[in-house]
């Protein structure tokens, strides 16, 4: 009788252990579920923002950020989806975090434009031979990037509106600290574009995303965006992008200041547009995927907080009324996952702690009234 009792106890213990093991082996359940679909209520559908959810780990913060984007009346976000985060090893793709961001955005009624860049270590030269940064890619990595873009587009088919290939390739820093090279960037587009279309013919592929700069050819730090864009066309880039991604920062100038080749201001993008038209590409639209003013008290190109608000709202108005070729205007940057503790914090619309800055409230008033 005693042995029977002991056997029952042992079986019971075993069951408890098995139950525990089963529980801990279960895949983690989402703590923050994707909410029911919402709609962006806006009177200015051109209004967009560039979010920074790439390094935002906690799902509730992703959700709250995107709720606030919707509540501000922004129909669009531009977000960075780093290749290096999703393909640690060649051919092994992890889109869990990207899925979370895209699904939450869609649930808020927001259209997503995905910027793709940041090269994994295995697609760059071996570090023993050469120290390279995440922004380094040479010809040997183009095919790998094409494969990644194929997988990304296939995975997000119907869920992401457009993709941007690379960021500001006309800056040395963004080109892996090498001399910038429009022909090399065009060669990258030539490899990647067909792969994106192969995965989804409806995916819009954006190119350019050039940094506004006046640096002349041969400068060690950058190349004038207008020269760079022309050189892209000269290298045969036209068939390899569906629309241009442009950056339209205002620096110290008010919104309406007329553009000039030797001036950096918001309307400089009109000069990029002229380059497109000169090259027979007028049918393609422009998406402004970064723009804005900075209100740091000390950065050399900042304005006062009140001016920043005034210029930002005027910029949305200007793009809507004056630029029929402009599909969307995204201001940099909605919210950072962490304070950067430098002048770049003064681009943010919302604090790390989700406290809306006055610019958020003013744009909200403009977009939703």
């Amino acid at each position: 009788m005693e042995s029977l009792l002991a056997a029952r106890h042992n079986i019971l213990r075993l069951l408890v252990v098995l139950l525990f093991l089963w529980a801990v082996e279960l895949p983690p359940q989402p703590i923050v579920a994707v909410p029911p679909p919402q709609t962006v209520h806006t009177s200015h559908p051109i209004v967009g923002v560039h979010t920074r959810l790439t390094d935002e780990v906690e799902p509730w913060k992703v959700l709250r950020t995107l709720e606030m984007v919707r509540e501000m009346g922004s129909s669009w976000i531009v977000e960075f989806f780093p290749w290096a985060y999703s393909e640690d090893y060649p051919g092994e793709y992890h889109f869990e975090h990207a899925d979370m961001v895209v699904e939450h955005a869609r649930a808020q009624g927001i259209t997503v434009i995905a910027r793709i860049g940041l090269v994994p270590y295995w697609a760059r030269p071996h570090p023993d031979g050469q120290d390279t940064t995440f922004n380094y890619i040479d010809e040997s990595g183009y095919e790998a990037m094409g494969n990644y873009v194929y997988e990304f587009v296939r995975h997000f088919k119907g869920r992401v509106h457009a993709i941007i290939i690379w960021n500001e390739p006309n800056l040395t820093f963004e080109w892996g600290f090498r001399p910038v090279d429009p022909a090399a960037y065009t060669a990258l587009l030539r490899t990647v574009y067909p792969r994106a279309k192969q995965a989804d013919p409806n995916m819009i592929v954006l190119a350019g995303a050039l940094a506004p700069t006046l640096e002349p050819e041969g400068s060690p730090t950058a190349m004038d965006d207008l020269i760079y864009l022309q050189k892209m066309y000269d290298a045969g880039a036209a068939p390899y992008f569906d629309a241009l991604s442009a950056h339209a920062y205002g620096y110290k100038a008010p919104t309406e200041e007329p553009p000039a080749p030797d001036r950096l201001n918001f309307r400089r993008v009109e000069l990029e547009r002229q380059v497109m038209v000169r090259n027979g590409d007028e049918a393609k639209p422009v998406y402004i995927t970064e723009a804005g003013w900075n209100d740091s008290p000390r950065w050399h190109a900042s304005v006062s907080p009140a001016q920043r608000i005034e210029y930002t709202i005027a910029a949305y108005q200007w793009a809507e009324e004056q630029w029929p070729w402009c599909k969307m205007l995204a201001m940099w940057a909605f919210r950072y996952p962490n304070w950067m503790h430098n002048w770049q914090d003064n681009f943010a619309f919302v604090g790390v702690d989700f406290q809306p800055r006055p610019i958020y409230l003013q744009v909200q008033q403009y977009a939703t009234r």
Partner: protein, 267 residues
């Protein structure tokens, strides 16, 4: 079990010496295998330490009309290099590229009104802070030391849309009876304090010190936030890091740092 106890109790004399020798040899071997600090070797050989800097942040990092580097960070970097018997050179890097410039060896260290970034701890080390640029209260000098703790019933003046404004809105939600006076410009916010309309203004330390330099009736009260400025060095350059940090400690200890700060902010 009994056997183990027996062996332990008899394991003495030469046995412990042998273990100690193995441990010492292992440590020595590991130390010998540690890659040499190439950055420090290069700095010593060349006699030059190259500081990466985005010269767009006056009065810390800037360029004169004739293209020479100037600012608080520039003077501090030169002082640190001098203490090490070296010469400071500056490499212009956009703020986005400062860490990549370290990675690729375009500079040996970064000094650029930089605050530590937790995300870079895997490959970067930071010196102790040399300046805190966080938000502070500015108020009549006579009451500066008594202000800060309890804000109930106080009135704070801020520039509309500024970091001080954002912080004040945060404080209002947490303090009963705190009032915020919003002004279009910082000067107007400061004038509200001088005229007695507000008990204090809230702004960053640099702005506060620069303003007070011309308005001696005002003083700095308690700190609200902290933005410590540091120098960044690659993790793979531990000897360079130690040298810079030691020199900075000396400069702090003998009052040179405060003199440099005063020279740039208090005039």
């Amino acid at each position: 079990m009994r056997n183990i106890k027996y062996h332990i109790s008899n394991f003495k004399g030469w046995g412990w010496v042998a273990i100690a020798c193995v441990v010492v040899a292992t440590i020595a071997l590991l130390a010998a295998r540690r890659p040499p600090d190439k950055a420090w070797n290069q700095v010593r050989q060349s006699g030059v330490v190259r500081f990466g800097m985005d010269p767009n942040y006056w009065p810390f990092d800037g360029l004169t009309v004739s293209g020479e580097f100037a600012g608080l960070d520039v003077d501090l970097a030169r002082e640190i290099a001098g203490r090490l018997g070296l010469r400071a050179e500056f490499v212009i890097i956009g703020s986005d590229g400062l860490y990549d410039a370290l990675t690729t060896g375009r500079c040996d260290a970064v000094i650029s009104a930089l605050t530590p970034d937790a995300k870079r701890r895997w490959d970067t080390v930071y010196t102790t802070p040399y300046f805190d640029a966080g938000l502070v209260f500015v108020l009549p000098a006579a009451s500066a030391s008594r202000f800060g703790g309890d804000l109930t019933g106080r009135t704070i003046a801020v520039e509309f849309g500024s970091d001080g404004d954002a912080r004040a809105r945060w404080l209002v939600r947490r303090t009963v009876g705190l009032r915020v006076l919003t002004r279009d410009t910082l000067d107007e916010a400061m004038q509200a304090v001088e005229s007695g309309l507000a008990d204090a203004a809230l702004t960053d330390t640099t702005t506060a010190r620069q303003y007070i330099a011309g308005h001696p009736a005002l003083g700095i009260g308690s700190r609200q936030t902290s933005d410590p400025y540091v120098i960044a060095v690659r993790m793979a350059a531990p000897e360079l890091f130690r040298a810079l940090d030691r020199a900075l400690a000396q400069i702090k200890a003998d009052g040179t740092l405060e003199r440099i700060i005063e020279q740039w902010l208090d005039h």
